[in-house]
């Protein structure tokens, strides 16, 4: 968008000259303003107590209050770990899918990735309980061969959250990075080889530099998706999961503590984190697009 600076003036000029076009865009713009822009502005104002008495105490409490501060560090930790695992595994599978000669297998696995990339939620968490819960099938199977899974792991913990988040993050990474892998031209490989380059040379000088932005951007988006995950965490750990999203829910809907302003402040901080990640995503992705567009 930044590179196309003239669009605003252009839009205005065209809107003036063509009322019909303007009218056609109105519903979409009105929808965005009413149900995205205004609500978020209201949320930001709420987090500084605008509607009662302006104060920064809710926002500072997010970092000062031990429980909220812990939820912030937990959220960052869980999303970062699951993001890195999801990005690494997703990249490896994405590469394998591009390079394999088995076309039907590629089609099937891509379909599987597409189906599961948006699968986070209540039912997914419950499904994991039947497999690696205390009495899950895999837990019992491991016990039979002499491994006591629950001596070092429990699904109802942050490690468990990572295990379940990775379930939808790996497919998401595959879907996000496959276009970049497909853009790696065979001719570049040929050119590199005919100039005497080895496989390692190709990857170090050509492959990695072209893919890196897409991979890092994908990882950043996984990080953002992990930060926003709520239903999965709630279903696995209930109120015990001290991550930002569940804290927000406790503050907004809880019978014991009901503090909507504090909930707004936590949501605002979460929104800022995600916004930073998204801006980073766009900046990094801009580098990949240069190659994809050729």
């Amino acid at each position: 968008m930044a590179s196309d600076g003239g669009w605003a003036a252009h839009v205005i000029q065209r809107l003036r000259s063509n009322l019909g076009v303007g009218l056609a865009l109105t519903p979409f713009v009105v929808f965005i303003v009413l149900f995205e822009a205004i609500p978020i502005v209201v949320l930001l104002l709420g987090s500084v107590g605008w509607f009662k008495e302006p104060t920064l105490k809710y926002l500072t409490a997010v970092f000062a209050h031990p429980v909220y501060r812990k939820s912030v560090t937990n959220t960052i930790l869980v999303s970062a770990i699951s993001g890195v695992i999801g990005a690494t595994v997703g990249t490896a599978i994405g590469y394998a899918l591009t390079a394999t000669r088995h076309d039907r297998l590629r089609g099937t696995l891509m379909a599987l990735a597409n189906v599961t990339a948006n699968s986070g939620g209540i039912t997914l968490a419950f499904s994991f309980i039947t497999i690696v819960g205390v009495t899950g099938g895999l837990t019992i199977a491991l016990k039979v061969i002499g491994i006591d899974l629950y001596s070092f792991f429990t699904l109802y913990s942050f490690t468990g959250l990572v295990v379940v988040y990775v379930y939808f993050q790996v497919p998401l990474m595959i879907v996000l990075t496959l276009p970049a892998f497909s853009a790696l031209r065979l001719e570049w490989r040929e050119a590199s080889t005919s100039l005497g380059g080895t496989t390692a040379d190709f990857w170090r000088r050509v492959g990695i530099p072209i893919l890196a932005p897409a991979i890092i951007a994908g990882a950043v988006l996984l990080f953002a998706s992990g930060m926003g995950a709520f239903a999965t965490a709630l279903a696995l750990m209930g109120g015990q999961a001290n991550v930002m999203t569940t804290q927000v829910s406790v503050l907004r809907q809880g019978e014991v503590i009901f503090d909507p302003s504090q909930a707004d402040a936590l949501a605002t901080v979460l929104l800022v984190f995600v916004a930073v990640a998204v801006v980073a995503y766009h900046l990094i992705q801009g580098r990949t697009l240069r190659w994809l567009k050729r």
């Binding site: 865009l25 979409f28 599978i93 099938g137 998204v278």
Partner: protein, 292 residues
């Protein structure tokens, strides 16, 4: 990977050009790929299998696989008084979202492709941003904005559909934009204009029929993300208009087998709907749907 080893193997002079990727049989690499694919497929499919098995199992506590199978949990799940109302509401919310998001984006994107290509990055940015917006944040901001006069919408299905539409924008945008790009919308439109058509006539008569597969793909993605959705339902309507997602969550503690029968049912409904819609709107592999 091992630069030093392959260098020393070929000596000072570059060896003969290595065969390019894919055309060269590299069995060891292919085997590594298959192992990777197998692990991925297992990781993705085993929990789904667990969900289905558990819903049919009677007593699966001390064994690797269930010892007894029964249909009684499925029967009991569907006999619950809340089953029909909550699943109907979820379906209505999804259908409403599909209708609203398509009505918002299809004409907008058509106009962008024909008359205003330079405004596309702007609409794209607005449409794709909700992808990263945490649902909890969206829920809280909508509660703040629409639980007080002049417009009280919390607790009504309308707010739920509006919020679902926000989170659906990225999927719908991608599908419709890709389809419009693929059919040379501007060329078709201008051809119709030279033949004397009005502005909107070509949209209904030419463009819409030609992008029906994109519309089908968009509808499926919306259905699969919104049907049985929990977070926005719980925050925005809760018990006032209980959807299947909210009901299923409260059901787990007392009736785990029934809960997963309902989970499996949601999954089957969504993906059989996909097959039906894809069958109706022309054959297109499922792998293209998500990319759309």
């Amino acid at each position: 990977m091992n630069a030093a080893a392959s260098r020393s193997g070929t000596g000072e002079l570059p060896g003969p050009p290595a065969p390019i990727e894919r055309s060269a049989p590299r069995p060891r690499r292919e085997i590594a790929f298959y192992v990777l694919f197998l692990l991925f497929a297992l990781y993705v499919l085993v929990p789904l299998a667990g969900m289905v098995l558990f819903s049919f199992s009677d007593g699966w506590i001390k064994t690797i696989l269930p010892t007894h199978y029964t249909l009684s949990y499925w029967a009991s799940a569907m006999a619950q008084p809340l089953f029909i109302p909550t699943f109907t509401r979820s379906l209505l919310a999804s259908i409403g979202t599909i209708a609203l998001s398509l009505a918002l984006l299809t004409p907008t994107l058509f106009v962008l492709h024909v008359s205003l290509p330079r405004a596309r990055p702007f609409v794209e940015f607005l449409s794709l941003t909700p992808f990263a917006l945490p649902t909890v944040v969206l829920a809280l901001s909508l509660i703040r904005a629409y639980s007080v006069p002049p417009l009280v919408l919390t607790g009504t299905p309308w707010l739920l559909i509006l919020s679902y539409t926000v989170i659906s924008l990225p999927f719908v945008y991608r599908s419709i934009d890709n389809s419009l790009r693929a059919i040379d919308t501007k060329g078709l439109y201008e051809a119709a204009q030279t033949l004397g058509a009005s502005r909107w006539n070509p949209f209904w008569r030419i463009i819409l029929p030609n992008i029906r597969r994109g519309i089908a793909a968009a509808s499926l993605l919306v259905l699969s993300t919104t049907f049985g959705e929990y977070t926005l339902s719980a925050f925005l309507v809760g018990d006032a208009w209980k959807t299947s997602g909210v009901w299923v969550y409260t059901f787990w503690d007392s009736h785990p087998h029934e809960t997963l029968a309902l989970g499996a049912l949601s999954f089957i409904v969504t993906w059989s709907a996909s097959l039906v819609i894809l069958g109706l709107f022309g054959r297109r592999s499922a792998s293209e749907v998500g990319r759309a």
